[in-house]
């Protein structure tokens, strides 16, 4: 058991046996209310500051995203989508992208290094960089395309949900910095209730498809969105509608592997059994005699 309850680990990557699990802590969640976001990027700045990271100064190529994608330094990114609705009005949708902290994390499932990815019992999925071997399997496992590998140290990085802050009872830096309280943090239960109130409010204002984004295909997430158009999450910079761990990753990391290993073991065993039951395949004197004669004939 970890010494701090909030750091109890529920799941270790590349570990097939159970983690200590007699004690269960409350599940946490970050709720991002997209309808309240003004796109100020305070969350991005707070993330860099708290985590003591610096992003390279980029270039403007005509849209608001800065940097242009998540990087090993920028673990969260405001993504801006201009969507023209059928009735002709324009919606400017802003979504704070970053790790969703899946209940069933694809990155953790794909990771081959024991303990390089962990899931705390409060639901936070964290990369333990000193155990990371830099293979990039987490990238293949993630249904949201979040982890990034640094070209400097070849380690994978992503949002930690400020596990260090949460461990001491603080909200994540982004939530703390948000000037409109579009980002709130608490127990998953409380955040779900809070979202319900917000959704009711949005529906009252005419957004009849408003809803909570807590995709069940990955067992729910510990970062949730309140979306005005929850029926079309893809319009928010390609937020997947029904994310789940790819069937390819399930096949790659699932039951076929132990099955294949057992098959190879069985082959070796069959070889051994064949040897001890049938004995070696040996050349006898008669063969040698005939072989010699055949070779002799070649002389003539």
């Amino acid at each position: 058991m970890a010494t701090m309850q909030s750091l109890d680990i529920k799941r270790y990557s590349a570990t097939t046996t159970a983690s200590p699990s007699v004690r269960e802590s409350v599940e946490v969640a970050k709720l991002i209310d997209v309808s309240r976001c003004i796109g100020c990027k305070a969350c991005q700045a707070a993330c860099l500051e708290w985590n003591d990271l610096r992003e390279e100064v980029g270039i403007n190529v005509g849209y608001y995203e800065n940097p242009h994608d998540l990087t090993e330094n920028s673990w969260t990114l405001m993504r801006y989508s201009e969507v023209e609705e059928p009735d002709g009005h324009l919606e400017w949708l802003i979504r704070k992208d970053g790790c969703m902290h899946c209940e069933d994390p694809g990155c953790l499932k794909a990771c081959p290094a024991p303990g390089a990815i962990v899931q705390y019992s409060n639901g936070i999925v964290d990369f333990v960089s000193e155990n990371c071997i830099g293979c990039g399997y987490c990238i293949k496992g993630c249904p949201f395309n979040i982890p990034r590998i640094s070209q400097k140290d070849h380690k994978a990085y992503k949002c930690t949900l400020c596990s260090d802050r949460v461990a001491v009872g603080q909200a994540p830096a982004c939530a703390k910095a948000c000037p409109t309280q579009a980002i709130s943090f608490g127990t998953k239960e409380d955040m779900t209730h809070w979202a319900e109130a917000r959704i009711a409010d949005l529906k009252e204002r005419g957004y009849e498809n408003a809803g909570l984004y807590d995709p069940q295909g990955v067992g729910g997430t510990h970062v949730m969105y309140v979306l005005k158009h929850a029926d079309r999450p893809e319009i928010y910079a390609n937020l997947p509608k029904e994310p789940k761990i790819s069937g390819l990753v399930e096949a790659w990391k699932g039951w076929p592997k132990p099955f294949a290993l057992a098959g190879l073991g069985l082959m070796a065993l069959m070889g051994f059994m064949h040897y001890v039951t049938n004995g070696p395949n040996e050349v006898d004197d008669e063969d040698e005699e005939k072989g010699k004669r055949t070779l002799g004939q070649g002389d003539r």
């Binding site: 071997i133 990039g136 070849h154 096949a251 070696p280 395949n281 055949t294 070649g298 002389d299």
Partner: protein, 211 residues
């Protein structure tokens, strides 16, 4: 080099060196690959200096392997063309495993089993090499899409299992059929071994004066 009387030359020194270089690299690749294949085998990374080193070395060894295997392919390809006798031989695999040689057709330089090992190794190594490039994050991380990398991972793992299975057959055949290993260690086999296992080849070699 003078050969003892009654032996037949099977592999040149160059072919032997090529084979063993290939074998060493293939085994190292299998060990470092198995380490990342399943958590139960992660301890194998210790043989390579830890997980990070296993991750760094494995793809580079793969690059070396494609050259060593190309050497073997060029050397042995022409002896591994499939023919009718091979199908007959394979249909009597029970007789092969029971060592009832009298029921088997006369075999040339390679039997159907050896030819299958050759072709499965060829297909498997090409599949491993190509899928390995797609998975090689530090070199080609930006080149391929996530979906392509996922497909590559499945192909890579599948081909690896096939190759290791083929390797087990190859190794067991060498252990079971006494007198085979010396072909790859000393370059020669006895006339009796050739008579028993590769009679057609022995007749051809005798006609050429190889003894």
């Amino acid at each position: 080099m003078k050969r003892p009387a009654g032996t037949v030359s099977r592999y040149t020194p160059g072919a032997r060196a090529n084979h063993w270089l290939n074998a060493i690299i293939l085994i190292l690749l299998a060990l470092s690959g198995m380490a990342l294949f399943h958590p139960a085998l992660f301890f194998l990374t210790d043989l390579f200096g830890g997980g990070v080193w296993a991750r760094i070395l494995h793809p580079w060894m793969g690059v070396v392997l494609i050259f060593t295997f190309a050497g073997l392919f060029i050397r042995f390809c022409r002896y591994n063309i499939w023919n009718k006798t091979d199908t007959q031989w394979l249909n009597r695999i029970r007789d092969v495993l029971a060592a009832r040689d009298e029921n088997l057709p006369e075999v040339g330089r390679y039997n159907a089993g050896q030819k299958l090992v050759f072709w499965l190794m060829t297909i498997g190594i090409v599949a491993l090499f190509l899928s390995g490039l797609v998975m090689w994050e530090s070199q080609f991380g930006d080149v391929f899409s996530v979906e392509q990398k996922r497909i590559a991972a499945v192909v890579h793992a599948t081909a690896a299992v096939v190759i290791i299975g083929v390797w087990i057959i190859h190794l067991y055949a060498a252990i079971w059929v006494k007198g085979s290993v010396r072909a790859m260690t000393r370059g020669t086999v006895t006339g009796g071994w050739a008579w028993k296992h590769h009679r057609k080849w022995l007749r051809e070699e005798a006609a050429k004066g190889n003894k």
